[in-house]
């Protein structure tokens, strides 16, 4: 199809999409209104289990099975990326040059923010039930904090700080402990992911029962997933190079096979 024909088709499709979206949106309740039936139900359920953060209550209590599916998607995508980013035949691994030119101010900021970010990440994961945050957000903060070392030119230190075999184990352990907490609920109360742990008083660190535990399990899986993902991409950029003897690549080898 020529580019011109494709643009005509695109315009037609967009016009159709605009009409469908407009019809759909006009049937919605007006923006900012007071009627939110799901909100009222979710807030009531959140109070029943003494969970101060209603978003975490939805994620880790009311819809915990969905969150398990979501976490599985993340772990599966990490496996997919790892499979896609294997070194191909004409590549070999090289030592990454530790002497990357980095500005002194960047080094200083990295040294200051590396511990601070890790601490904030742990805080966000641990207090997921009572303050804004939770396993997903905290996990990403933790993984980002770890990769500040790369920004600061300390790639070798980063490699030492993230032993990938260990992170592969903690990723799986996060997923397994998530479903284990759910199965414990099934065994004790007869419902998958029922909140069987005593919920304490709202706003305390030990409140909300399983919400905090599930948040920690997710945090463990997310931090490992992000670290493994970024390790794969950094490897592609830094540690892999083409074999020098491989000859000129004409891009048709796959077709000939």
């Amino acid at each position: 199809m020529s580019r011109r024909a494709r643009m005509v088709l695109l315009a037609l499709g967009l016009a159709g999409a605009v009409v469908v979206l407009a019809v759909g949106v006009l049937g919605l309740p007006a923006f900012g209104g007071h009627r939110h039936p799901y909100r009222d139900l979710a807030v009531a359920a959140s109070f029943r289990h003494a969970t101060a953060n209603a978003v975490s209550a939805v994620n880790f209590d009311q819809r915990a099975l969905d969150t398990f599916g979501e976490e599985t998607i993340l772990v599966a995508s990490v496996a997919g990326v790892a499979a896609l980013l294997r070194p191909v035949r004409r590549e070999r691994r090289r030592q990454v040059d530790p002497e990357m030119p980095v500005m002194d101010s960047t080094r200083l900021l990295t040294a200051v923010f590396f511990p601070v970010t890790l601490l904030i990440g742990i805080d966000v994961v641990a207090h997921g039930a009572i303050t804004p945050g939770g396993g997903f957000q905290g996990g990403v903060v933790l993984a980002t904090g770890l990769h500040l070392l790369y920004v600061g030119g300390r790639y070798r230190l980063l490699e030492r700080m993230r032993p990938l075999p260990l992170f592969e184990i903690t990723e799986a352990a996060g997923l397994v402990s998530f479903i284990a907490i759910g199965l414990a609920g099934l065994a004790v109360a007869g419902h998958l992911f029922s909140n069987v742990v005593p919920q304490g008083r709202m706003g305390q660190l030990t409140s909300a029962g399983t919400v905090g535990l599930l948040s920690c399990a997710v945090g463990m899986a997310v931090v490992s997933s992000v670290v493994i993902l970024l390790a794969g991409f950094l490897d592609q950029a830094l540690a892999l190079e083409e074999e020098p003897a491989a000859g000129q690549w004409d891009g048709r080898e796959g077709a000939a096979r």
Binding site: F31, A52, N53
Partner: protein, 119 residues
């Protein structure tokens, strides 16, 4: 005027999705196409949060200042946007890994030059 404002955020969400689609369609670089897909998905975040908003509502984190009766925004759609973001990150990483492999095998990331099928 009130009628316009009542649907304006939804229109913004729809516009972001459609702009992302246009970007994918006219893209000459697969990385650009992947980023445009992320733009599309950001439209869904805006839409979800717009659905759950209430004028005067505050964040649904209860504590000493926010009580049972305080008007809060909808936590359900916020949780859904979180799910959305995680899935979006998973998809983006998979697609970028695919782009890397395409670049290695074919030596180009221009979708127009990647027409022939290859086994």
């Amino acid at each position: 005027m009130i009628g316009f404002l009542a649907y304006y955020p939804y229109a913004v969400a729809g516009a972001i999705v459609l702009l992302g689609l246009v970007g994918i369609a006219i893209s000459r670089d697969l990385v650009h196409a992947v980023v445009c897909l992320s733009v599309c998905q950001s439209g869904t975040y805006v839409f979800l949060l717009a659905v759950g908003y209430q004028y005067g509502g505050i964040a649904p984190i209860f504590g000493s200042t926010v009580h049972r009766g305080t008007p809060v925004v909808d936590p359900v759609v916020q949780a859904l946007s979180l799910t959305d973001i995680v899935v979006s990150a998973a998809i983006t990483s998979m697609l970028l890994a695919l782009v890397i492999q395409i670049a290695k095998r074919r030596g180009t990331v221009d979708p127009d030059e990647l027409r022939s099928l290859e086994g």
